[in-house]
Every structure is written in structure tokens, then in C-alpha cells.
Symmetry: C2
Subunit: 144 residues, 2 copies
DNA sequence: CTTATTTAAGACAAAATTGTCTTTAAATAA
DNA sequence: TTATTTAAAGACAATTTTGTCTTAAATAAG
């Protein structure tokens, strides 16, 4: 469904959010340890997400990654997916046609429209904060 | 969402079904031309689907691919996806956790459950025949 | 100013996926 | 039997994705 880069990015962002909610700025090593994702790869994804203003990165001693209240509450899953994978998953044709719409649909088009739009809605309505509170409360986990 | 191999396979099967419904057995070259998929790659996928009894392949002069009535009507999209990509898309975790369920869910689990199950249901309820009739009637297309 | 610590950037490498080509096997027709 | 036609199988190649490593840049502390 999502690329590995995207999965790593979402995990990392949710973890960073939980720590920022406690006032803790975290280094990439800590992120990697708590998400089970490869450190250098995750760092690269976080660099990209930082450029998209989804989190802050601070260089130097006592540096690391953190999210402000606005980022934690207003960033939606869809923004991360868009930044990392693009919007193909939300808009693309199930059979890979360049264009596919009600006018000239692929055979799966009408079966697929609702699935895709439900996915899009869910991802646009779910904030990082929503996911972070589940992790903080112990209701959900990032590693297994 | 699906691999290229899977996309090619679905397109090819739907096209072959439309031709079988007219009593026409088709060669791989014809399939490739009418689906816009690479010939050798598509041939490989069709070989796999033939082993899964989703269609028949016949060697030699006047050979090619065809589907019988049962295959056309009873084969569901989910079977093709399962044969080519496996069932990960229907059962796997959105964040790539090895195991992820209500007992130990990833942060996205509950948001994702319905999307995945709707997708599964749709794919298990849509037959190749359902898609073929749209293509025959000109309501849908395979190339663009 | 120098040193240590951290992310940034990009080259590099490994693995998976996508795609092609050649050879083989099977089936048919002559 | 022989030649022809087709898919099957698998080696090979190209591309994309995933992942690592090295060097640079920024920042803080002494």
C-alpha cells in the first residue's frame, strides 16, 4: 500500500510527536530504536518531511527532531503520504492507466472509486496527534 | 496498490475473458496488443495464472489462452491478486508490522481495518465476468 | 577559536521489481 | 517424420526501491 520510506516516515513522526508532547527533542538514533526502522534511511525521510514543514530538525549538540503543537495537531497522515509517495495512491488508476475517470474508466474504476475515496478521507481526517495519543496510552505499538 | 505484474495480469485476464465469451482463443501477442502490457512479462504472469487454474493455456498451432464459463464467472479479482501478489494487501499492516491486530495494534490499525476489509470484500465479490461485460459494451477500456 | 555533536546531502551498494531474450517443450499439420 | 507454431522456463538486463556510508554544514560549549 505505502512504500517502506513512507511507513518509516509515519512511524518516526508518530514517535517524535509522542516525545515532543513531553517536551523531549529526540535524535535520529533514538527514533530508529523506538520505531525499528533503519537509521540512515529514516534520517533521509525525516529530512524530506522537515522540508515539508511536518517537523523541525535542529543541528548540533542538543539538536534532533521535534514537532510543535501546530504540527502535531494539524498534520494529517495524508500530508506525509503525499510528501513521501505522492498522491498516486489517492488518485491513481487500479490498473495503472495514465488517465482513468468516469468518462473513460478502466474496468475496475467504479468498483475502486469508493475504496480510494474512503482511504483518502481517512488519511485526511487522521492527525498525528490522534495516533500519538494511542501510542502514549499504550493502546498501540510501533515495533513487533 | 497492486504490482505491475498484477495489473498486467488482471488486464490480460479481462481481455481474454471477452474473447472467450466470443469463442475466440487468443495468442499472447494479441493479448499484449489489446492490453498495452509488455508481451514477455505478461506471458510470464499468464503462465502463473494458468497454474492457478484461472485460465487455460494451449501450446502449438491454433493454441493460445482461453477461459471456460466457470473460470469467467467464478474467478474473482481477489484470486488473481492472491496468485500474483499474495494476500498481503488484504491482511497486512499499514505500517509494515509483522503482526498487527486488535490485541497489539499499530497506531493506524483501527483506522485501517475498514478500508482493508472493504477492499477485500470488493475484490472477492467482483468476478472477471463482471469486468468483461463492461469492456465488451464499450463502457470501459484497457488502454489509454 | 577549537572541538564535539548533530542533521544534511549525496555518492554508493544491495535487493526487489520489471522487463527482455533465448532455449526448450508441446502440439499440430503436412 | 519433419517443419511450424505456440506457450514454458529460465537466464539475463534494466530500473526502481531500499538501505548504507562518507563528507559537509551547523551549532553549542569550553
Amino acid at each position: 500500500m505505502f512504500s517502506k520510506a513512507c511507513e518509516h516516515g509515519i512511524k518516526a513522526v508518530v514517535y517524535i510527536a509522542t516525545q515532543s508532547m513531553n517536551g523531549h527533542r529526540v535524535k535520529i538514533t533514538e527514533v530508529s530504536e523506538h520505531t525499528g526502522t533503519p537509521e540512515a534511511f529514516t534520517a533521509k525521510v525525516l529530512g524530506l518531511l522537515s522540508k515539508h514543514n511536518i517537523l523541525h530538525s535542529i543541528k548540533g549538540p542538543y539538536g534532533g527532531f521535534e514537532m510543535d503543537q501546530k504540527q502535531i495537531h494539524e498534520t494529517k497522515l495524508a500530508e506525509i503520504v503525499n510528501a513521501v509517495d505522492g498522491n498516486h495512491i489517492f488518485t491513481g488508476c487500479a490498473l495503472g492507466l495514465k488517465e482513468c475517470n468516469a468518462d473513460k474508466p478502466c474496468p475496475m474504476h467504479y468498483n475502486f472509486v469508493k475504496i480510494r475515496s474512503d482511504l483518502k478521507q481517512m488519511m485526511e481526517n487522521t492527525s498525528i496527534h490522534d495516533l500519538a495519543i494511542g501510542l502514549i496510552s499504550g493502546e498501540s505499538i510501533l515495533i513487533r
